[in-house]
Symmetry: C2
Subunit: 350 residues, 2 copies
Amino acid sequence: MEEVAVVENKKVILKNYVDGIPTETDMELKMGDTIELKAPKGSSSFLVKNLYLSCDPYMRSRMRDFHGSYLPPFLPGQRIEGFGVARVIDSDDPNYTPGELICGITGWEEYSLLRNSNELQLRKIQLDDAIPLSYHLGLLGMAGFTAYAGFYEICSPKKGESVFVSAASGAVGQLVGQLAKLNGCYVVGSAGSKQKVDLLKNKLGFDEAFNYKEEADLDAALKRYFPEGINIYFDNVGGSMLDAALLNMKVHGRIALCGMVSLQSLSSSSQGINNLYNAIPKRLRLEGFLQSDHVHIFPQFLEHVKEYYKEGKIVYIEDMSEGLELAPAALVGLFSGKNVGKQVVRVANE
Amino acid sequence: MEEVAVVENKKVILKNYVDGIPTETDMELKMGDTIELKAPKGSSSFLVKNLYLSCDPYMRSRMRDFHGSYLPPFLPGQRIEGFGVARVIDSDDPNYTPGELICGITGWEEYSLLRNSNELQLRKIQLDDAIPLSYHLGLLGMAGFTAYAGFYEICSPKKGESVFVSAASGAVGQLVGQLAKLNGCYVVGSAGSKQKVDLLKNKLGFDEAFNYKEEADLDAALKRYFPEGINIYFDNVGGSMLDAALLNMKVHGRIALCGMVSLQSLSSSSQGINNLYNAIPKRLRLEGFLQSDHVHIFPQFLEHVKEYYKEGKIVYIEDMSEGLELAPAALVGLFSGKNVGKQVVRVANE
C-alpha cells in the first residue's frame, strides 16, 4: 500500500461576516489541520502548494453576508479564498501535472485541493527569469488586466488626452498611468502619502501626482493639474474624488468606474455623489466594468504587457508580506491604504 | 418713400436672474414696445411673426447668472428666447422669403428680427395637413429628437428588453416609450398624476405606468414592475428615481441621462446619488447626452417619426397655452409637472 505524507495545513479562516471595514480579528490563522499530500483517485482534483496569494479589495464583498453579488460570500469558519500562484503537487486531473505552475482562485492555506471549474479562472503559467512569479497576481494578473481592459475598452483613449487616475500607485492604478503615458497622454495621479506621490512621479512616470490627504479642496486640486479639464478619469475610489472629477471633466469625457466597491465599504453612511448632473451638459459617459467581461483580450494583454515590461517600458511595484500569518493584516491594510503597490503574500518559497 | 407699418410688439422679459425654481414673477409681459414690420436693408436679417413657442426645462439654465454652460444666460430686462415656429414676414436674407415657415430659436414676443446663425438652429418647415404645425416644437422638434437620439444612439435597445422611462408623459418621455414599444420592448413609465398614468397606459401604449407620488418606496415600485430588472432606464428626472433605478438595473444595463438638469433646479440642497456603486458589479453604462451632438441623424429622425405618426403608430400629447401672456405660467408649470404632455404656447393663429 502506498504511503501518503500527511502534513499540517495552516489556513486563514473567516470568523464571522463583516459589516463595515474588515479588521484582522475578523479572520484567524488556524493551525493544526492536516492534509494528505495526494489528490484522491477518481476525484478529478489536483493538489497544489500555494506560493503567493493576492490581496484584492473586491474580497471585502465576499466577507459580507450578501448573496446578490456576482460572487458568493465566503463561509464563516472556512478558509478564505482568492487569486494565488501555486505549484501542482499531485493530480487526478489529466490536464494538470505535478510540477506545473498555475494561477487562479485558490485557498488561503498552505496546500489546496482544487477541482477545475470556470469560477477558479485557472491558467497555467511558465517560469520566466525576466518576470517574478508573483507578478502573475498583479501586473500580469487580475489587477493588471483590470487596468488594461478598463483603459483600452472603457476609456477610449486618444493620444494627447488628459488622464486622471485615483489610487494611482495601487495594483491597478500604477499600470493605468503607465499605459496612458505609452499612449501619449498627459497623466496625473492621486495617492494617500508622500512616499506614493514620489513613486508616481519618479518611478512610475506620471506627469504629476498629488497627495489627496493634503488637499482641502479636491476640486481646486484638479483645476490646478487640469486647467483645461480631464478627458479620462479612471476611478478607483468613488466618493468625493469622483464628485470633484465630475466638476472637472471635459465635454465628451469618459469615466471608468473601477474600484468604488472598495470605498463603499469604508463609510456606512455614504455621502452620495452630488455632481452627476454634469454628465448631461458635458455629455459624459460613466461605465462600470469587470475584467471578467473582457477575457477575449487577455492573451493580447499578456503579450503586450510582458513585452512592455521586458523592454523596460513599464515597471511594477509590489508590497510583499512574508508568510501566511501576515495575510490578514495585508488584506486589511488595503482598506487604509497601508500597502504601497500591489499587495501580495508569500506563503512558501518557489 | 415706402411706408412701413409699425405695430406693438408684446414680449416676455426676464426681470432678474433666478436662483432656485423660476416663478412667474421672475418674468414680465412687457407691453408698448413697437417694431417696424420690415427687415432693414443691408442687415441680412429677416422678420418673423411668431406662431408657437416651446417651453423646455433646459431654459431654466439660461435664467441663471452662470456663463460656464453650453448656452449663454438670458439678459435681465431683455426678452427670453427659445424654440418657436414662425412665419417670415419680410426678409433681407436671400435664403428666406416672406410666407415661408421656420422653426428654430426665436424671441418670446409677437415679432422677431432674426439673423441666421448656427446658434438659432433654424430649419424651414412645410405645412402638412396631417401634422399640426406646433408638432415641430415637440414630436418633430428638439424634444422628439432628444427622445429619438437618446433612445437609439445612447440606449442601444434590443428587442425584448425592459425599458423604464421617468417623466414618461412629458415631451421627451412619451416618444421614448412609444419608440421602445415599436422596438419590441417591455415599457414602464412613471409620472406624477393619475391623469398622466392613465394617458401612459391607455393612449401612449405603455405596458405599465405608475404615479411616483403615490409610491413610498421607489425601489419597491420598480421591483414590482421589473421583477427581472431593467435593461434600459431613460432618465428624465435624476435624484431619488435614478437612485432607485440603479438598484434595479440588470447586468450591462444602460442609463441615458437626459433631464437631470431640470430636476437639479428643484432642490438647492441635493441629496446626492447613493447607489452609483452598483454600476461596477452590474457593469452599467450611464451616459449624458444632448440632441445637438446627433444632428447627423436628424433627417432620418424626421422621416421615421413623420411616417410612424402618419401611419397612426405613434401619437403625441400637447399642452397648449393660448396667448403670449400665459407663456410665463406655462414655462414655470414645467417645474411642478403642471403640463400634461409637451408644453407649447400659441402666440398667434396660423
